[in-house]
Assembly symmetry: C2
Homo-oligomer: 320 residues x 2
């Protein structure tokens, strides 16, 4: 920048003003821009970061990008950031609680302007000196949490199964023992079953439990080649898909014998049909809410829990 100033015969500050599009006399601007061209000057962001302490970068902490739901989230968060001229520093935890902690540290050292995190560490401490927004997990009223309406989604699934003619249903899930927003999927489902007088069962496996326990659960509920349930609601689309494979192996037809509703809204190859009938999370809205919240000037005044509406979508595993 000093070189440019010398080349253009102006002061350093003037070059800075030109680069930042501030008010500068036309002749000066022309001289500076010409010098920039001539020298092939490249703006260096690290100087600005050092001086201002801001990077226009948000760290996004998430388990991985292989899980299609996370991949979708990454995509929409990035779009929302780009819209606001922000960059993304992506951190994959692989569900490793140490990594979660280290990434927060690393992000701060890199002067990120905020952190969006989807974590599972039960004892995670949230730094107070950087805007922090979590997905699917409520920490405290001072840490905004964005989630879809998980309770409403469970509720909707039960109503949908009832509407589609089911009389005996079950909720199936496997996952971390951590109580978080997605835990409410079960609560909403159970609540609606009770309300509807729908007979139901629940099987919730801890993370790491063998999948065979689901198979056992299902075979234990078989009588004369018929399953005791005519409707299943699962914690995720992936589990729904796996359960459906098992049902088929057991000689049951989906959706004729058993209807299955998953949760998330995963599509084949990310853009084609829904993999299973499902409760669709509003990923784009979630991403948008995360970004606008984490960048909001007055973090303390934003709501501490934002639940966004879900919807049901047909994916071939329910009766149309």
């Amino acid at each position: 920048m000093a070189d440019v100033a010398r080349e253009a015969g102006v002061a350093l500050g003037t070059v800075s003003r030109v680069v930042n599009g501030q008010q500068v006399g036309e002749e000066f601007r022309a001289k500076v821009e010409e010098a920039i061209q001539r020298l092939g000057y490249q703006y260096n962001n690290s100087g600005r970061t050092l001086r201002t302490g801001s990077t226009n970068t948000i760290a996004f902490i998430i388990p991985n990008t292989i899980n299609p739901y996370f991949a979708l989230l990454v995509h929409h968060v990035n779009i929302a950031l780009e819209k606001r001229n922000c960059k993304m520093l992506l951190c994959f935890t692989e569900y490793d609680t140490n990594r979660e902690t280290e990434f927060i540290q690393m992000a701060r050292q890199n002067q990120v302007d905020g952190i969006i995190a989807l974590t599972y560490n039960p004892g995670l401490t949230i730094p107070a000196d950087v805007p922090f927004v979590t997905i699917d997990r409520f920490f405290s009223t001072s840490v905004p949490c964005i989630a879809s309406d998980n309770f409403g989604g469970g509720w909707l699934a039960a109503h949908k199964l009832k509407e589609l003619g089911c009389t005996n249903v079950a909720f199936m899930r496997i996952g971390s023992s951590l109580t978080n927003e997605p835990s409410k999927r079960k609560d909403g489902f159970v609540s609606a079953c009770v309300e509807l007088g729908l007979s139901f069962e629940v099987i919730a496996l801890e993370d790491g439990a063998p999948y065979a326990e689901f198979e056992k659960f299902l075979t234990d509920h078989m009588e004369n080649g018929k399953l005791a349930f005519d409707g299943l609601f699962t914690g995720t689309d992936m589990l729904a898909w796996m359960i459906i494979q098992t049902l088929k192996k057991m000689g049951l037809r989906v959706p004729e014998d058993v209807q299955v509703i998953g949760f998330d809204g995963i599509r084949t190859f990310g853009i084609l049909d829904y993999v299973v009938s499902t409760i669709v999370q509003p990923v784009q809205e979630i991403a948008e809410a995360c970004v606008s919240t984490v960048l909001s000037k007055h973090l303390s005044t934003v709501p501490s829990l934002i639940c966004l509406p879900v919807k049901y979508a047909f994916g071939g595993t329910t009766k149309e």
Copy 2:
């Protein structure tokens, strides 16, 4: 850092040396570490970046993360980077050629230590002042290109179909008109068909062509309820999957009537079964090669085209 030095009663340089794990007298180290604790000092990376010009960050430019193959790539590139204490600046182009150019500019302004890019802009200019590695696309001998053995993959697909009893095959693809490494999938396939005396056809649609052209191609090759082909090889797994849906709608059975082999190696939900029988790209090795190449000290001495071996995997759309 100056505060820490004052608090510990040592010089600024000593604090720096402690922080960087350099040789420092035990008593000094202890004093400094205690002061760091007491003050809750946080290392600030922007100072280092300004001073050294390096960020330990690599920009990864890719269309999106919704496509499962790209998601896999992002995942493995990140792992390879993390192994080397590097961060990832992720840039989604959405196939927008302007974005591709802008991101390269942006990455340089952010002092990244290198760029890995999977792009489609035919006229993209590669900056000379930052290590640059491309995926699937050869620019010049001075820009290392990493790809899987696309030619070998096409060749393998033809051999596999022959081995599985096919006598009339076709290659189907749709995509950008850009000639890149994946274009060789067709070349390898055709070459093997000729070599094997296997009767074949090719349909290659330009990006943006309606999918219906594939349907027309297939129905045009129907005679008395039988398809003229008993084996299909597609440019990607996604196209294979779409074609299979079409075949089923036409009353054809896969793999009994027609066997289909895709390309990429996509699994359901990223980790379960292969979606279709496929030629699997060695994603992890590709990612590893990209990272080690872009970080290599002597970029000029690395090979300019690295092709990594593919393999065939069964995914239910071929006879076992």
